[in-house]
């Protein structure tokens, strides 16, 4: 299996097969990163596509010595997300209903009651994450779902290491409070 660095070097020479391998390697991560950041599937798909197009165009500029492909990819995603967040019009969008229905039908091996409880809990988590300030939300998403270290996050977001750690710490605290309130309201 070829490494990301080799594949991006091939992309820089116009190899679309290498690009396709990279796409399949990172498509799910990127889509879900944007989905969790904005809570909207259509927006997430658009941004994921735009990220990959930018990766293809910027491939010759990739400096493998300074950054890993993963941090470079998330840095591109971060810039795109930041420009969308500046517009602020996608922040308050409700989560698309279709994904919920799709998810329920996919997991129909589990009893319906359990599915509904699981779904409800998932909804609470979604709502809670989307209520976080965007900067804290982004750091939590990168850390928890994308598996980046705080050092990598500071490179991606372009902030000092201490700031990345603080955002994560405060974000988790806030998220915990929101989750507690949401769960209390449900009960």
């Amino acid at each position: 299996m070829k490494e990301d660095r080799e594949l991006i070097a091939l992309c820089a020479r116009g190899d679309e097969d290498a690009f396709t391998i990279l796409y399949h390697r990172y498509k799910s991560r990127l889509l879900n990163y944007f989905y969790r950041l904005f809570g909207n599937r259509e927006r997430a798909e658009e941004l994921m596509q735009e990220t990959f197009v930018r990766v293809w165009r910027a491939a010759p500029k990739f400096q493998g010595k300074e950054a890993t492909f993963r941090t470079w990819l998330y840095a591109i995603s971060h810039h795109l997300a930041a420009s969308q967040l500046r517009k602020r019009r996608y922040l308050s969008l409700p989560l698309s209903k279709e994904s919920e229905e799709e998810h329920l039908s996919e997991t129909n091996a589990v009893p319906l009651e359990q599915q509904l409880i699981k779904k409800e809990e998932e909804e609470i988590v979604k709502r809670s994450i989307l209520r976080l300030p965007p900067r804290q939300r982004e750091v939590i998403l990168l850390r928890h779902y994308e598996g980046l270290t705080c050092r990598e996050i500071s490179d991606v977001v372009g902030c000092p290491l201490g700031t990345a750690k603080t955002r994560f710490h405060h974000g988790i605290k806030k998220l915990h409070t929101i989750l507690k309130t949401e769960l209390h309201n449900r009960a």
Partner: protein, 179 residues
């Protein structure tokens, strides 16, 4: 033994197991004796556990096709332009229009021009007649129209059908409906 500040700093790394074994053990030892850090650990691990309840969504297959269609902007740019034979046809048509315009205004511009001809060019002045010029312009315009129009129309039809085929199967970002 580490203090509470050090412990809290490394707590998330500890949970994600991103610390060297020595530091992992140091935090573990501190947590076993410090109630407040233990509380922080519980909050963090509970919140992170809750985060796992938000499951991933799947990537639709059309996404790759949509990306591939955008990888080569120069190709897209070129395909948006009319082919060279259509451009020639358009230029010929413009030529016909110009000739017809000249036909309309030749009575105004030719006689004053002839009056100012140099001495050696008198034979042109003598040979000129409005009818001859009208005939010449109409003939040239007619020949150009005769050859260019059918080719132009046929090529236009072919070009439209090719473009439609090329677009088929690749959804447009803006026009794509919900999936």
């Amino acid at each position: 033994m580490i203090d509470c500040k050090k412990c809290l700093e490394g707590l998330s790394d500890y949970i994600y197991r991103q610390l060297p074994p020595q530091q992992m053990s140091a935090i573990e030892a501190h947590l076993s004796i410090c109630a407040s850090c233990q509380e922080e650990y519980k909050i963090l691990s509970y919140t992170l556990k809750m985060l796992n309840k938000w499951e991933d969504i799947k990537v639709e297959p059309y996404c790759l096709a949509a990306i591939r269609a955008r990888l080569h902007p120069e190709r897209q740019k070129r395909s948006r332009h009319l082919p060279s034979y259509i451009q020639v046809g358009v230029l010929v048509s413009i030529g016909v229009i110009v000739l017809n315009l000249l036909f309309g205004i030749q009575g105004l511009i030719v006689p004053p021009l002839l009056e100012h001809l140099p001495a050696g060019w008198q034979s042109i002045q003598e040979a000129y007649s409005p009818l001859l010029l009208i005939g010449l312009l109409l003939s040239v315009g007619g020949i150009l129209t005769l050859f260019s129009s059918p080719i132009l129309i046929m090529k236009m039809i072919t070009f439209r059908s090719i473009s439609t085929e090329q677009r088929g199967g690749i959804p447009n970002d803006k026009s794509r409906t919900k999936h």
